[in-house]
């Protein structure tokens, strides 16, 4: 059984870790609401960024001769069509990274470096994911739903976590506050 003294000791010895964890969760929830939920509930389902993503995906696929057209948040060709919907815009991964960078007790310089290279990198990975999903949907329609739901999203989050850990070790700890 946990005694009151043990619980108090746990909170005392893990104060900075608990502070980091609480801040991490709070910033993640707040940023996800601000960037993922509120824009859609307040300003409609298709936001300008999703349209931009659709255009970027179409441009990349057309580089390889896909004959793809972007219409709003929809990307389509004669062979396949897909919608870039909620959850496809990389907001979760970016919010996770943002929360980790902002919650870590380090200098603002390290945070700015982290945000400047991390968020665009995560968005680039997400763009590659959407392009990959287009080809999977076109060539492997029988497993495209499973890959879309369970593998692609997980892969992006894992890579984002990797970038976050890289930042923790290379920048976060180096410029850590005393």
């Amino acid at each position: 059984m946990l005694s009151g003294r043990r619980v108090t000791n746990f909170f005392r010895t893990n104060r900075s870790q608990l502070q980091f964890s609480a801040l991490f969760v709070l910033i993640f929830a707040a940023s996800y609401l601000a960037f993922g939920v509120l824009p859609r509930s307040q300003f409609g389902v298709i936001n300008p960024y999703t349209e931009f993503l659709a255009k970027a995906v179409a441009a990349i696929i057309n580089l390889f001769g896909g004959g793809v057209v972007a219409d709003g948040a929809r990307v389509y060709s004669r062979r396949y069509s897909m919608d870039i919907a909620m959850g496809c815009d990389g907001v979760e991964a970016s919010c996770l990274y943002l929360a980790g960078v902002m919650a870590f007790p380090t200098s603002w310089r390290a945070r700015l470096i982290g945000l400047a290279f991390g968020v665009p990198l995560i968005q680039a990975i997400n763009l590659i994911r959407i392009v990959g999903l287009y080809y999977v949907g076109m060539d492997l329609p029988s497993v495209s739903d499973q890959i879309h739901d369970y593998v692609a999203q997980t892969l992006v989050i894992l890579l984002s976590t990797g970038i976050l850990l890289f930042w923790f070790e290379r920048f976060g700890v180096r410029y850590q506050r005393a």
Binding site: F24, T154, I157, T161, G162
Partner: protein, 208 residues
Amino acid sequence: MAFGISGHRWLKRFAFALVLYIVILPLWWYSLGALSAVAGACASWIYTFFDARVTLNPRGRVVQFVLNGRLQTNGVRMDMLTYGLPMLMALVIVTRSNSRVASLRALAVGCAVMFVLTVCALMAWAKMTSGQLEQQAAQGSDQSSFFFLAFHGFGFSQPAIAVLIWLMLIMLGLFKGRSKQRRRVATVARNVSCPCGSGRKYKRCCGA
């Protein structure tokens, strides 16, 4: 605060985690029925304290919403609510620990947190559904409501939530077992001088 993962070692570990995740996925898929039954029953039981009209009825891999004994919706897909669980398990398994007991403890705590979150999500979904049904009756369907998107956001964020829990398990030291040094100190004879260097007998110092 350091995570003990330096250089490019994390890349190897994450590649291993991804492979492990794909291995665990079928196990998770076939245990979803049982998970739905337990989580649905828990959420339904807790709901009786707040609103006795509402029942959550687990059926296979979905949990249905019943209001006043009448089935109201097709149900929520448990796979979309819990697919962070196999990822959390994969991440916990690939994390280096000095003790298997500590690893198992971290795995148990992580799964328990994930389960509690799932039950909370089911309850929020039931509340949202009942609210939405009332709203629909009043003014028609609204698929872009705040709660609708927030709930779906919880589903889409499952891997991110798994990572959050995993990082917290690391931060709170749940992967660390009891150190060998502490065990060695515990075997010091009571009447010899204390190994901490205080000059006092062990029984009057650290062994008190």
